[in-house]
């Protein structure tokens, strides 16, 4: 008898490595359900959010790859290729977004094929055809971008956002042989003119709920470190300068004040960075600022430019000069008004055409669920922005320039010793920026 038991255990141990481990993401209860106003572009959309089982970066990438594998799979009636063709012809589109503690799947379709889209999504999710080959490909595609190679400011911003939201890089789980299933979502956001609550209800009822007590991770609020990161590259004569800071604001007035001032500094061709760094100093093609919302009243604020390597110290001084002037309230009504109009216009456009943005805003404001009318106070704060107050409070809206992390990618002109006092890390080009971010933390 003992011998038999041992044999069984040995069999299980031998078999385990070749068996895919299944991960099941689902809510234990019915989802929080919200209807946002229909979009203005003739499209309908539904976003489903599932709570992430882990907030470690390797697990999030695996979950993303797992969901991508399922929605690129086939159904009982359609091969994966036929399913893709079906979606193209019907105008059905899937999008995946990682939120602070959830993964979000958004289905977008023209209103007249929206119900077909929901039915199709239901077939994909209910009986997923999970191809390990496809998962392996998706896993490769989900690898962190090497922003040290692409040197696109948006890539740097993306990598830093991931670091701030998901500071743990790897929780030790082997994610290579894994399958995923997605059951009842915890949140649903609908955007449709048509009455589709019947098909949506049928779809949701068909999804399995979580029956186990799965402990869910709590999001960790992390800031970027201070200091300087330098990625030398003798193959390039240019340096991407990226100066960035995480900031938590007191309220939306504070948030909008900072947003408008950062736009004044470097957004659009009417900005100070464009005027001074491009048109007067002729130092960079693309000087710009970023203001990226990463949660309720939280944002990443940044200034960037790609310049001749020998010139970066001069341009960094210019960055500081421009920033300090605006921090001292040196911003005209005309410029602020231009930026207010553009900010309101761009967010209004996003709300009306981009269901993922609207759903993310909802999750920031109403993650615990909404009762009654749903409002996004960000819009009201922009409309009410008072330029006199913003100038007067500019020192509060904008943190000290010395608090920013400085990232220099490319060239062979290293930062002088004096700049390294708050921390310094030399970044290899072949490694993700996380390498230095972790060291400086």
């Amino acid at each position: 008898m003992t011998l038999f038991r041992t044999f069984l255990v040995a069999l299980v141990c031998l078999a385990t490595p070749s068996l895919a481990q299944e991960e099941f993401l689902a809510s234990k209860t019915s989802p929080q359900y919200a209807n946002l106003r229909p979009m203005a572009n003739g499209l309908s959309a539904i976003s489903l959010m599932w709570p992430l089982n882990s907030l470690a970066e390797n697990r999030i990438e695996a979950t993303h790859a797992g969901l991508a594998t399922i929605i690129n799979g086939g159904t009982e009636d359609l091969t994966p290729f036929e399913a893709e063709t079906f979606r193209e012809i019907k105008g059905i589109n899937f999008g995946l977004t990682t939120l602070q503690a959830h993964i979000m799947l958004t289905l977008t379709a023209p209103s007249d094929s929206f119900v077909d889209g929901i039915t199709h999504m239901a077939e994909l999710l209910k009986n997923p055809e999970f191809s390990q080959d496809w998962y392996a490909r998706q896993t490769v595609q989900q690898r962190p971008l090497l922003a040290t190679k692409t040197r696109r400011p948006q890539n740097v911003l993306g990598v830093l956002t991931d670091f701030v939201l998901f500071p743990e890089e790897d929780d030790g789980t082997d994610t290579t042989m894994r399958t995923f299933r997605f059951g009842m979502p915890s949140h649903v956001v609908l955007r449709s003119e048509a009455n589709v609550e019947g098909p949506v209800g049928t779809f949701l009822r068909s999804l399995p709920i979580q029956t186990k007590n799965v402990p869910l991770p709590t999001p960790v609020v992390t800031d970027l470190p201070n200091g300087v990161i330098f990625a030398p590259d003798p193959d390039s004569r240019e340096t991407l300068m990226y100066v960035i800071k995480t900031e938590t604001f007191d309220d939306y007035d504070d948030f909008v004040g900072a947003n408008l001032l950062m736009d004044y500094i470097g957004a659009y061709q009417g900005s100070e960075m464009f005027r001074v760094i491009r048109q007067e100093l002729r130092a960079a093609y693309n000087p710009a600022s970023d203001f990226e919302q990463i949660g309720k009243n939280r944002a990443l604020m940044a200034m960037s430019a790609t310049v001749l390597s020998s010139e970066w110290p001069t341009i960094l001084t210019e960055f500081e000069g421009i920033y300090t002037a605006i921090q001292n309230g040196d911003a005209t009504d005309q410029g602020l008004n231009n930026n207010k109009r553009r900010l309101l216009g761009s967010l209004d456009y996003r709300l009306n055409t981009n269901p993922r943005w609207g759903a993310s805003q909802y999750m920031d404001e109403y993650a615990g669920g909404a009762k009654g009318q749903i409002n996004f106070p960000l819009f009201r704060a922009i409309v009410d922005a008072d330029f006199e107050k913003i100038r007067a409070n500019a020192q509060d809206h904008l943190p000290p320039f010395d608090d920013y992390l400085i990232i220099l990618i490319g060239g062979t002109n290293p930062p002088p010793e004096a700049m390294r006092a708050q921390g310094y890390c030399e970044q290899p080009l072949s490694k993700p920026l996380r390498h230095c971010l972790t060291q400086l933390r």
Binding site: F81, N93, P110, K149, Q269
Partner: protein
């Protein structure tokens, strides 16, 4: 110029297509042509001034057309911002055209027309600003080369394909130090002549008002002769097959670039090929994708873009990203096997119909957004042909016969000049 953007196809959505009428205008002075495309969807008007010369027309120094685009755009506007600017400049240099787009609410039509008209005047800016703009072009060029490696990988592949560093291929980086104001101004004089310029007004505007505005702002332009497109006569040896290997630390992954020239010699102008081109490349994309992405897993990604010149010459550039561990040789063999046997299984009428539906969805999607709509208009217009709106595109696709599609497909896969580049990533 005709390009298929796979990304747009993937985002294809449906919206009831309205036939956006493309109305030619008559009283246009010496302009090559002018059109109005009325559209009520957004409360805006867009004026596209399309100079029918682009980077392929750089006959001495690559980058000249692009440098001039900067000068003309800033000359037409203010060069240094005395007051915070309320609008951005939108100008771009493509292979065959340079496009200046001025957009605003309908009440701004006069300002938009003035800004468009000003592009035809020789750039008037302080001398030091004109000359120092070369530095900005340098910064932009190096920036884009770094950010988008496919730009320089494609350049190498095309230099090998055409055996040239001018015209359809370029020599952008080596020529940067040679950029100069004099050559740019000479380019302006030769190419920014009214006979080489098309104006397209689209958006919320009455056709009669658009006609009146074109007459008012361009009616005084004088007729002349458009410059020759010498590069149209340059064709590679049909027997050519080159393979080059490079390695670079700028790459995140290994990449194969497969460039092929296809001489569609039974037509004089690409206008006769539009329907079969769009449907044909859609079938190509679908079959290649099915073979390499759905029936096999040797590739991370496969993407192809096509360029059709106004004389029908077609260039195909496929970008293949092998999965880690798959050799260049195996990946190329897999792709060429799929490509050469593409038509072994006959194309069915149903498949062509599916391709039509995909294109119809693409057209409807383009009609949905303001920027996509403008890109749609400027696509064929860049060759000096009548712009195709999403609405007219739907009809074009519908009117194309299955036989025309099959003929195009057969020609596409025939052996012809090919250039292959293996680009290996370095750490």
């Amino acid at each position: 110029m005709i390009r298929i953007l796979t990304a747009l196809l993937l985002f294809a959505t449906t919206l009831s297509t309205q036939a956006q009428e493309v109305i030619p205008l008559d009283d246009i002075g010496g302009l090559h042509s002018a059109y109005v495309v009325p559209r009520d969807k957004f409360n805006r008007v867009d004026v596209q001034l399309i100079v029918l010369s682009g980077s392929y027309d750089d006959d001495e120094i690559s980058g000249t057309a692009h440098f001039l685009e900067h000068l003309a755009a800033f000359s037409a506007d203010t060069y240094v911002l005395r007051e915070p600017r309320a609008r951005d400049l939108y100008a771009k240099t493509s292979s065959v055209a340079t496009i200046y787009t001025n957009s605003g609410p309908p009440r701004d039509i006069d300002r938009l027309m003035k800004l468009s008209r000003a592009v035809l005047y020789e750039p008037k800016l302080p001398q030091d600003f004109l000359e120092s703009e070369i530095k900005i072009v340098e910064r932009e060029t190096f920036l884009r080369e770094r950010q988008y490696p496919t730009r320089w990988l494609r350049r190498i592949a095309l230099q090998n394909l055409y055996g040239s560093k001018r015209g359809r291929a370029n020599n952008m980086i080596e020529d940067l130090p040679k950029l100069n104001l004099q050559t740019a101004l000479e380019f302006h004089e030769k190419h920014y002549t009214p006979a080489n310029v098309m104006v397209v007004i689209s958006g919320k505007i009455d056709p009669k008002e658009a006609a009146a505005k074109v007459k008012e702002y361009f009616g005084d332009t004088e007729a002349g002769k458009a410059p020759e497109k010498w590069w149209l006569n340059e064709k590679p040896d049909p027997q050519l097959r080159t393979l080059e290997r490079i390695s670079s630390n700028r790459l995140q992954d290994d990449l194969i670039i497969y460039s092929k020239f296809v001489d569609l010699d039974w037509v004089d102008t690409s206008i006769d090929l539009q329907g079969e081109f769009f449907i044909g490349v859609t079938i190509f994309q679908a079959r290649i994708r099915e073979a390499l992405m759905f029936s096999g897993f040797e590739f991370q990604s496969v993407g192809t873009d096509f360029f059709m010149a106004k004389n029908g010459d077609t260039e195909m550039n496929t970008f293949l990203e092998p999965m880690p561990g798959v050799s260049f040789e195996d990946a190329l063999a897999k792709f060429e096997q799929a490509f050469t046997t593409l038509l072994d299984e006959p194309i069915t009428a149903e498949e062509i119909d599916t391709a039509r539906q995909r294109n119809a969805a693409h057209g409807r999607n383009a009609a949905r957004g303001a920027q996509d709509f403008l890109r749609f208009l400027e696509n064929v217009a860049s060759d000096g042909l009548t712009p195709i709106s999403p609405g007219t595109y739907a009809k074009l696709i519908e009117d194309t016969t299955d036989a025309e599609v099959l003929k195009f497909m057969e020609k596409l896969i025939e052996p012809s000049a090919t250039s292959i580049l293996f680009a290996q990533k370095e750490d």
